[in-house]
């Protein structure tokens, strides 16, 4: 594994009006590594991933991918560089089938009597291939139906599969297990581990310490817009992470119990 980080955020700060939502935050994510971004509500997790994915432009600092500065404030350009973000709502069109969702906005075309038409056969074939790669089993008739008929875990897998199909180097996942039942949480976690083993870098935003410890190699904790700490998962425990998340005062009262 290379030691140079795939993604480097340096001195990132952002202000919304009078509020400084992030102050001088650094973040590294290496290829084949899962980094969890932890923090309480309002700590700045979402703001940070939105800066990385190009939704927000930081007031100071910059984000680099393989040493090259990313275009700030241009989500499409950031995507084109290989950073895909999977939001909590998955950004699927529920009324369309798996293939249509994977290719949404980038449909493959073929010629029919000289006219460009959508190549549905290819979309179907790729849908099957993507699901096979991720080891997700969807019955044939559901593959052709709207994705709203699929389970939460399957839909999550489709969102992940779409990102991978478009060659994501870095996958940003916002609370990927929040809406899932326990067995589905497990299969999504297994999927994340498999992607990491294939060399994808993953930045995971989560509230769920169980998930974080189950899958992350490194944990970066934000508190009120600042970097509160960074730990290798193997060398820390839940108590320490909670202490970093909420600050020492609360942790002290916790220990008093």
């Amino acid at each position: 594994m290379s030691t140079a980080a795939l993604l480097e955020a340096r001195g990132v700060s952002i202000r919304f009006g009078g509020v400084e939502a992030l102050r001088n935050v650094d973040l590294d994510v290496r290829a084949g590594e899962v980094v969890a971004l932890a923090g309480d509500n309002g700590a700045g997790k979402s703001t940070l991933i939105k800066i990385v994915s190009g939704v927000y432009t930081p007031t100071a600092g910059e984000v680099r991918l393989r040493g090259e500065a990313l275009p700030a404030g241009d989500p499409q350009a950031v995507r084109a560089r290989g950073i895909e973000t999977i939001y909590q709502d998955l950004a699927l069109a529920d009324n369309l089938d798996v293939g249509s969702n994977i290719f949404l906005g980038r449909e493959p075309m073929r010629r029919l009597l000289g006219m460009p038409v959508i190549d549905r056969a290819r979309m179907r074939a790729v849908a099957g291939e993507v699901l096979r790669q991720l080891d997700i089993h969807v019955p044939e008739h559901k593959l052709a139906g709207p994705v709203r008929m699929l389970s939460g875990g399957q839909r999550q897998a489709i969102a992940i599969g779409r990102a991978i199909w478009w060659n994501a180097k870095l996958l940003i996942m916002d609370e990927p297990t929040a809406a899932l039942g326990v067995p589905e949480q497990r299969s999504v976690m297994a999927l994340i581990r498999r992607l990491r083993d294939e060399g994808v870098a993953i930045l995971l935003v989560s509230h769920n310490l169980h998930d974080i410890f189950g899958v992350a190699d490194r944990i970066v904790v934000l508190r009120r817009g600042e970097l509160a700490g960074e730990r290798a998962t193997a060398q820390t425990d839940g108590d320490e992470i909670v202490r970093l998340m909420v600050g020492d005062t609360y942790a002290a009262t916790r220990q008093a119990h």
């Binding site: 950004a91 069109a93 529920d94 009324n95 959508i118």
Partner: protein, 327 residues
């Protein structure tokens, strides 16, 4: 046991998908039996009857073509009826302009569609850029187009026009063929092109579509312009058929166009529907309207019958959704 119940579900789902066809066949069969027994001749075997039904269907169907696109995006276009009226008046006025010959037919048709696409553009801008709900935005345009149509008509309620070329467009099977060709072309667009795919995607989840890089606002503006353009085509056919433009030409067709789309299986919540369905919906309405007159039932019953079919179709759709979730 599991397989037999899933086979049953699939059979039910098939019936759910095909019910507009089945219902149309049942309606035709009913009128056919009635006709054979009471009059002793065929209902659907008569070319005159078939032509009358198709002509009756083609007027709301023309509006329903654009309306289908709009409803799939989870919108609605209440202005199509009076945009159609405005177009009907424009055609008659333009052909009468500048001396005995007036403007040429080609220029008239192009100008009419172009002028009527403008209110569609305004609808789209209101809805996509300013975030006005489609129901309100197009209700506003309903009023504006209505007023503009009557103003354009001048003192008389209708504007007569005498033009051989235009009259040909409105004669015999021509309006049916024109509507059929446009329907087929737009069916191709909706089912085979990116434009159609994005129409469905926006109706399914506007935010997802935007995140996938689709220019949602531009697409919505285009969809409302399309709807207005088809309303204009409806107005042209009206004036061609009746030899006069009237500002209220499409007044009663607005609800028929929405009914056709809904009976055809589209959901007003967006994301579903197609033009074959809208065609069947328009045919069902036309068969009910013509059939009830044919069997000499008081004409007002047709409103009751069409109303009942609309509600029935929505109920079937809801049952179908539950079925889909269960399987």
């Amino acid at each position: 046991m599991a397989t037999s119940s899933s086979a049953r579900l699939e059979r039910l789902a098939l019936v759910g998908r095909l019910w507009p066809w089945l219902f149309l066949c049942a309606l035709v069969a009913f009128f056919e039996c009635w006709s054979q027994v009471r009059v002793g001749r065929s209902f659907i075997g008569s070319l005159y009857n078939v032509q009358a039904i198709l002509l009756a269907a083609s007027a709301p169907l023309m509006l329903a073509i654009g309306q289908t696109f709009v409803i799939i995006t989870a919108g609605i276009d209440l202005s199509v009826g009076f945009i159609m009226g405005l177009a009907a008046v424009c055609v008659a006025q333009f052909l009468g302009l500048g001396g005995p010959g007036g403007l040429s037919l080609a220029i008239t048709l192009v100008a009419t569609v172009a002028i009527c696409a403008l209110p569609g553009w305004v609808n789209g801008m209101l809805i996509a850029r300013l975030g006005v709900p489609a129901f309100i935005g197009t209700l506003g345009m309903y009023g504006v187009a209505r007023g503009a149509g009557f103003l354009a008509a001048g003192s008389g309620m209708t504007v007569p026009v005498d033009h051989a070329g235009l009259a040909w467009i409105g004669t015999g099977w021509t309006p049916v063929v024109i509507t059929g060709v446009l329907l087929a072309a737009m069916h191709f667009v909706l089912s085979q092109t990116r434009f159609g795919q994005y129409t469905y995607a926006i109706g399914g989840n506007q935010q997802s579509a935007a995140r996938a890089g689709i220019d949602v606002r531009r697409h919505l503006v285009q969809v409302y312009m399309l709807s207005a353009a088809f309303a204009a085509c409806g107005g042209i056919l009206y004036t061609a058929r009746y030899g006069a433009g009237a500002a209220n030409a499409g007044e009663s067709l607005l609800l028929d166009s929405i009914a056709a789309v809904v009976i055809g299986g589209a959901s007003l919540f967006g994301g579903t529907g197609n033009l074959v369905g809208s065609l069947i919906g328009a045919l069902i309405i036309a068969v009910i309207q013509f059939g009830l007159i044919f069997i000499d039932v008081n004409a007002f019953w047709q409103f009751i019958a069409v109303g009942a079919v609309i509600v029935l179709s929505v109920l079937i759709d809801q049952a179908k959704d539950k079925l889909g979730n269960a399987s």
